[in-house]
Symmetry: C2
């Protein structure tokens, strides 16, 4: 089967698992369930659940215990988008061609739907303790929480907002700017990839060394993905990318490319990608689909 | 020791435990830690952690495993206030005489501080699995998550917002109005009391029957507390209460009192309170301070 077809199959598979964990729309509070389900089902590549499941399979995982975690990480990812879109944040009325949650349900319900998804993610993941009250599940729960919080995704989001508001004019020190950009990429993006792949590895019983390697691979994927994003914002056309390009320059936003230049940014993406794929190849186990997926993510043209 | 002095001591004790679990203010994302700590330390009676600890002690609990849960439930309570105060919700600039979180840190950071507290509550509670990876801790984690979410606090908040916005004019059916009010009180307020006392009971190893009794007591406390709130809004003066009275009538808000009348509301509070204290007295164990605290909560004059 070619990669594109296999990927479509994996997306459907993840989609079905996620759906099965969404709340029933019932009771006096039914609006909140509707808003949650609208948000989760508004689309998305289901990248984090797929990376989680394929890393789990890489290490021989075969049980259903992975499923509540797949649903939970997608709920966390979705809540972060719902809150990002709020008027006080990015103020977006559309995402992937669909109205954002607050645009449909109002701002108060947008806030509450995000809260509800974050809370429900933990409700969902905690059901794994009923399936298997093992130290692995405990560790996976702790990874899920930590990588989403102030030492992970939220931490990155905070620094991103603060550095946008400070404007590019304030920090003239390129070294400091670059440290900030790396911090944002590592926390806002890479942390949730580390969560996805880390949970997959832990639940499948990977060794300490294997878990460390997976964490490095995930971190590299996240960073390469974001540097590629900065590159595409400069080199691509709006048509190719399917979203407006050049926005970073217009917003006078310091990026990896504006600080290191296009050539060096490209070289760095290559180096980081090669390192990730090299570590993946050094493992005693393999999952050809996972290798293809990671390669596609790093080399994406949009 | 008289009750007031003992209560002050218990508040300090809870305060100290909560503080010890707050995040250190450090790193590039330090603003978010500051906003979280500001929110938690802005005051409050620490009612939920105290009810949790005293219920734990009621059933003979003596370990530190209760502590992360005490901190976690206060973080969840705090996040709900931070988000309630946002412009899109109640739009409050002051709470307990202090500026609200978004008034100090801005709206975006107010949203993120709430998110961060909710997430950190689970990070904190999950550390209990390292202290004791027992089925009791798993059950306590599940109670914490469920009672805070769409089947608990958030569910009540959603219905409260929707019924406020619908106005009192729409629903002319008193029976339906009363069901809605009971739903809101049971979910928005009682659920978190049930969480606090339920977790205390579970972690101390209470039996199934004891856990059921505690759930009923907690539910009664929450309901009695809220009906008392409706009564005080009518009968008290602004001076006595320390906050504006008569706001429900001004807002044309249907309340327990407006639907059942003052006399019947008073009788119901008496009945519910007596039931709660009766069940508490029927247990084989006792904690005089807990009995006094519950009595004080139900009979409060402000």
């Amino acid at each position: 089967m070619d990669f594109k077809k296999e990927l479509d199959k994996k997306v459907s598979e993840a989609e079905q698992i996620i759906r099965s964990y969404l709340p029933k729309e019932e009771g006096l509070q039914t609006t909140i369930m509707e808003a949650m389900n609208y948000s989760v089902l508004a689309g998305g590549k289901r990248l984090r659940p797929i990376l989680m499941l394929e890393t789990y399979r890489l290490f021989g995982g075969k049980d259903k215990v992975i499923e509540p975690f797949m649903a939970a990480i997608e709920m966390i990812h979705t809540y972060s988008l719902v809150h990002d879109d709020l008027p006080a944040m990015d103020n977006d009325l559309y995402r992937r061609g669909k109205k954002t949650t607050h645009a449909v349900y109002g701002e108060a319900m947008g806030i509450l739907a995000g809260d509800a998804l974050l809370n429900y993610a933990f409700e969902t993941a905690l059901t794994a303790l009923n399936m298997s009250p093992s130290p692995q599940v405990a560790e996976a729960l702790q990874i899920l929480a930590k990588k989403a919080g102030i030492y992970g995704m939220i931490g990155g989001q905070v620094v991103d907002i603060e550095s946008e508001r400070a404007g590019s004019g304030e920090k003239t020190d390129d070294k400091e700017n670059l440290d900030t950009i790396l911090f944002i990429h590592e926390h806002k993006t890479a942390a949730m990839i580390e969560s996805a792949m880390g949970i997959g590895a832990v639940l499948a019983g990977a060794s300490e060394l294997e878990k460390e390697k997976i964490e490095q691979i995930a971190s590299d994927i996240g960073l390469a993905f974001q540097i590629r994003d900065d590159i595409l914002d400069v080199t691509s056309t709006t048509e190719e990318l399917g979203k407006p390009v050049g926005s970073d320059e217009r917003n006078q936003k310091a990026t990896y490319v504006s600080l290191k230049g296009l050539d060096e940014a490209r070289e760095d993406v290559e180096k980081i990608s090669e390192r990730a794929l090299g570590i993946l190849a050094s493992l005693d186990v393999s999952n050809p689909f996972l290798t293809q997926l990671i390669t596609a993510l790093i080399n994406r043209k949009k």
